[in-house]
Amino acid sequence: MIRASAVDKHFGSLHVLKDITLDVPRGQVVVVLGPSGSGKSTLCRVVNRLEPVDSGDIAIDGVPLPAEGRELAELRADVGMVFQQFNLFAHKTIVDNVVLGPVKVRRIDKETARQDAMRLLERVGIADQAGKYPAQLSGGQQQRAAIARALAMRPKVMLFDEPTSALDPEMINEVLDVMADLAAEGMTMLVISHEMGFARRAAHRVLFMDDGEIAEDSTPEDFFRAPRSERATDFLSKILTH
């Protein structure tokens, strides 16, 4: 479903992604972790080309990512993205946030889009917040609204870039629960997260990124029990102690 081959990416002289090759089959849930600055966010962002790559190819569901313009926009509509800082449209109510994409991109009529949006908000448990503005919601509610907004496009793939790391601890689980449900329903997901509980519960596969490379690629059981590299062992000991 996501296929990246030999992807390289620099920011100036900084080599952020080094010859990344990755194949995520349909329905697989992949958790990516690794130290800060290792290139996790960049990996996530090149998958829907919010960042262009220097070289290499990326394809979604067999379609190579177009360079710019209409085709790229269409492809992005098939790839849902959830951001660390939620990035809900601040000037729109929650339901209007969810409705915008289906109406403008999918050209679904407003009433149908609204009904779909309400169903999705119901599903993530915030239907009662539909008429409020993002700033009036808690972080956990905002992130669930952001997930609903992405789901409204009926994406083939969902990308999550540290969806719970800006949340107060008591709100983390409400978001992880929604994500775990999504995983159980068979959504293809690339999730950057240090939440080990989620990785153990929902992930099929764990990638450990270090310095722009995928240093380990294994199952959650194997990775958390016995990481192969010293860097991963070191990293795990750090996230376990806090």
């Binding site: 926009a73 098939d78 449209f89 601040a90 403008k104 991109v105 409204a152 496009m153």
Partner: protein
């Protein structure tokens, strides 16, 4: 005071013409300026180039020179319109550069995550600009845009001086030069006339500012 009252009709038609110039030039400059701002933040380098060149030329060129071009350059090229339109369009072109910069700074004040989220749900550049970024930029754009518009109203006097004729500034010239009235009272009338336009415009903009401030 007597001069003003005696020539009230001249002052009033002058104010009407000034208003007319300002309404057309204002609308046109807002339109062009918004499109240019879109160009300047566009992902396409040629569009950015057009936007940047336009702003560089019109922001750094004296209005009088722009108007000279419109008044004398274009007729030489065989393009002929009533000068009212040359003057008004010249003022609009000049003002559009400042409108563009005010809007662009407003666009830049919107957190980049907003445009990223818009792109990530598949909105194109134009859609994300009009549905997500510009509505949020309005709040920061209104105050500087107000200054640009007030400056434009004052600059309309230069259009009048170029011979549109019949605007408020020209009314003053007619009275002092052609009819030999004393300058001081005549110009006092002109000042009052401009203040009668700019002060309400400023109040209107202040109201608008408070309106958009409460919008989220």
């Amino acid at each position: 005071m007597h001069v003003i009252l005696a020539n009230l009709p001249l002052y009033l038609t002058g104010m009407a013409t000034t208003l007319e110039i300002c309404l057309y030039a204002g609308a046109l400059s807002l339109l062009i300026g918004t499109i240019l701002a879109g160009f300047r933040v566009s992902p396409l380098p040629p569009l950015r180039g057009v936007g940047t060149s336009w702003v560089t030329v019109f922001r750094n060129c004296p209005l009088t020179v722009v108007l000279f071009f419109m008044a004398f350059g274009f007729p030489e090229l065989g393009i002929n319109f009533p000068y009212f339109w040359f003057g008004t369009v010249g003022l609009a072109l000049y003002t559009s550069a400042f409108v563009c910069e005010a809007i662009r700074s407003g666009i830049n004040s919107v957190p980049p995550g907003q445009a990223e989220a818009a792109r990530s749900i598949g909105l194109g550049f134009g859609q994300s600009l009009t549905s997500v970024v510009l509505p949020q930029a309005v709040r920061t754009v209104v105050p500087p845009l107000g200054s640009v518009i007030i400056a434009m109203i004052k600059n309309s006097a230069i259009v009048g001086a170029f011979g549109v004729g019949g605007d408020l500034y020209a009314a003053g010239i007619t009275l002092t030069s052609a009819r030999g009235e004393a300058a001081l009272p005549v110009l006092t009338g002109v000042v009052i006339g401009y203040l009668l336009i700019t002060v309400p415009a400023g109040l209107l903009l202040g109201t608008l500012e408070r309106k958009v401030a409460v919008l989220r």
